[in-house]
Symmetry: C2
Subunit: 426 residues, 2 copies
């Protein structure tokens, strides 16, 4: 794990909130995002404590310079991601120096996070979603085929599908309960869904570009990982189950996909890389074109909570339903890139990958409601129960990266509320 | 079928090539595209005969005016498509008047099609591919389930999947034979594909935009159809078969999707609209939210031909392997739009839909090699045979719209050659 001065646990910031224990955005993090200050236009920023550094303002004040900082100031980060990880690492060093304790405090370059509006970090041109958790596949595949719950290709490649780019939205966007077609009482109905679900995933933001026809080999695949976030792959289970054979999910997935607005860079996550988990006895070996000895697995802990209208009215906290490790996923983000480009498919800067539902093997690590329901309805501390989401329910994801001897960093939130369906679709 | 003076069969152009019998681009067509003249930058144009009208030059010369013409002159047609069909119809009337016999000949506004380079008509932000041919599904579904070859949802909705936008390319782009993983001799290999196929489809280009969460009802869905073209959904059958369960096609489809460069507008196709074919006895009724009595089916004839290296060396013509009607498709383009947006998914201007493989029920109407092979290897007039495509084979699609009393119009070509695979992927 190549770490440097920007990861040093003793490093503190002149932004006091960044030094608070448990803060998602200490100076060791420095994630990029796109925000609007009150009354202002969208622009690039960097989260620090409970503040946002206005990168354009820092450039104008002569406190940052260079092409990467200019790209990081733009209203979408595609061009920054096109510049690749070396440029991001250089910019990270400059940002760390600018914000470190001992440097000149520049509060005029900051906006309170509570006052700004966050946007999508990139113009998302393409979104592909993977399915890399063995426990997720095993739990949901049992209904399809109890003896062989995993897809035939599961151990040979990271199974994935192309998903919808136009419906990707930043955290906070409410989800309108969709209408859809599904079997009910012996007929196929067109009605509001009765099975609105979330999927807790890791968002993977792509750096650089490979020309169409030119794969990115596994040896270089980690250089295509600009950064990471949280992703809610909102899922309409009744619609999805009915429409899937044989071409896969369509309207069950394109209602919306939400992402957390801060892109935690691959550089920030270097202290948290682990060797990939060993394959289980009886599994086939990893195919050579996807195999690497580089530690590419990320030591993250991800959480999903639900805030029901009754909990909200009572001023109670969201109820955590999922608390799950990421490092056990069967395929790493670098392997996803190598597989995705192995046929020559071109990944563009700012493209989005979803890791797939990050379910672990234990109770409480089920990262979607469809899995949680296998143990019965979800029970809330106030006595409420849920089978799938009801109108007014809000889903909140959080996540952290931690390792002995390093400062824990976080992802912020990915949250969204379910709104009632339209009365009709005509 | 609302037709007007622009469709009049007696109408002729001062561009003499447009009046030649069998020309794809008579003055009744007037498709939009994006081209570069020799040494020039990409810009919008309109095909007329064997020429391209330079829309920017026509604006500069004061021969066209208005916002739609300005949008049609841009290096991508997204903004024109955003303006919708009324704007396109108005522009069509102006283009027809400009190019009609009797108007002042303006050869200085033309470029020979043979001299220009064609580009993608839009920046394709999203590409969804449908599967709307019953014969296609029936032929290929028999292996999966002889008693129920059609997907369960086939009669209830137009089955579709999200496909890859970044790998959409204009006609002429060569296809590098991809590597991929598939079962062979009892193992899963990673090797160049042995099953490179084409799929002959109709390209559907989207007009206007619906906000996320707001469906476009079937009553308005035809207003979202800006225009049409030919689409080759290049398919890697061995890879596709292996990777599909349960999430659908991925690397089997993202090697490349090719489109013909000229967008034949919905306005140009108004004389060729037919009532949708009746459902077969025993089929369930069309769901009300997808039902319309408007004639939305298109009376098109589409063709696929293969030019092998030996045919090319002999100066022989491409061998037609598929000649198939479009009007028998089980779902119309308007129904595809209504279904796609029924969950609130937003379709953006310039988005691309594929109709799915346009196979008819008869021999010779199979619109991909996987279907053609059910009758044995493809036999060429020179004695060659094919099971799937070999390196150097070129696939050429053409198509026409015709109706009694109207001038036949065409789509131009969608063509591409298979290049040899890379020696390795590392």
């Amino acid at each position: 794990m190549p770490t440097n001065a920007t990861h040093a646990p003793g490093l503190r910031s002149w932004v006091q909130g960044a030094n608070a224990p448990g803060c998602d955005f200490p100076i060791q993090n420095l994630p990029h995002g796109v925000f609007s200050p009150p009354g202002g236009a969208p622009r690039g920023g960097v989260a620090i404590g409970d503040q946002v550094l206005d990168v354009a303002a820092a450039l104008a004040a002569g406190k940052l310079k260079g092409a990467a900082a200019e790209a990081a100031a733009e209203p979408s980060l595609n061009r920054l991601m096109a510049m690749g990880r070396d440029a991001a690492a250089e910019l990270r060093a400059a940002l760390s120096a600018l914000l470190a304790e001992g440097a000149e405090p520049l509060p005029q370059l900051l906006h309170a996070q509570s006052a700004v509006t966050m946007h999508l970090p990139t113009e998302v041109r393409n979104f592909s979603d993977f399915m890399a958790s063995r426990p997720h596949c095993a739990r949901l595949g049992v209904k399809r085929d109890p003896a062989n719950p995993l897809p035939p290709a599961f151990h040979h490649l990271p199974v994935a599908y192309h998903s919808r780019a136009s419906s990707v939205r930043p955290s906070g966007a409410p989800l309108r309960r969709p209408w859809g077609q599904y079997p009910k009482d012996g007929a196929v109905v067109f009605a509001p869904t009765e099975a609105m679900d979330f999927e807790l995933e890791l968002a993977i933001w792509i750096a650089g570009e490979n020309a169409l026809g030119e794969p990115t080999p596994i040896s270089l695949a980690d250089r295509r990982l600009f950064g990471f976030g949280l992703l809610n792959d909102w899922s309409v289970r009744d619609v999805q189950r009915y429409e899937m054979p044989p071409l896969g999910p369509f309207l069950g997935k394109s209602v919306m996909t939400a992402v957390s607005p801060w892109v935690v860079t691959a550089e920030a996550l270097e202290p948290f890389l682990l060797p990939q988990p060993a394959r289980q006895a009886g599994d086939p070996p990893c195919p050579p074109h996807l195999a690497t000895t580089r530690p590419d697995a990320l030591n993250l802990q991800l959480r999903a909570a639900i805030l029901t209208p009754r909990l909200r009215a009572a001023g109670a906290a969201p109820h955590t339903v999922t608390d799950t490790p990421f490092a056990g996923m069967s395929w790493t983000a670098a392997q996803m890139v190598a597989h995705h480009t192995s046929n020559g498919c071109n990944l563009l800067p700012g493209d989005l990958l979803g890791s797939g539902t990050v379910s672990g093997p234990e109770d409480g690590q089920e990262a979607c409601i469809a899995e949680l329901l296998l143990r019965g309805p979800i029970a809330f501390p106030n006595g409420e129960t849920r089978r799938f989401l009801e109108d007014g329910d809000e889903v909140i994801f959080t996540g952290t990266a931690s390792a002995p001897g390093f400062t824990t960093i976080g992802f912020g939130e990915c949250r969204g509320e379910v709104l009632p369906a339209h009365a009709s679709v005509t």
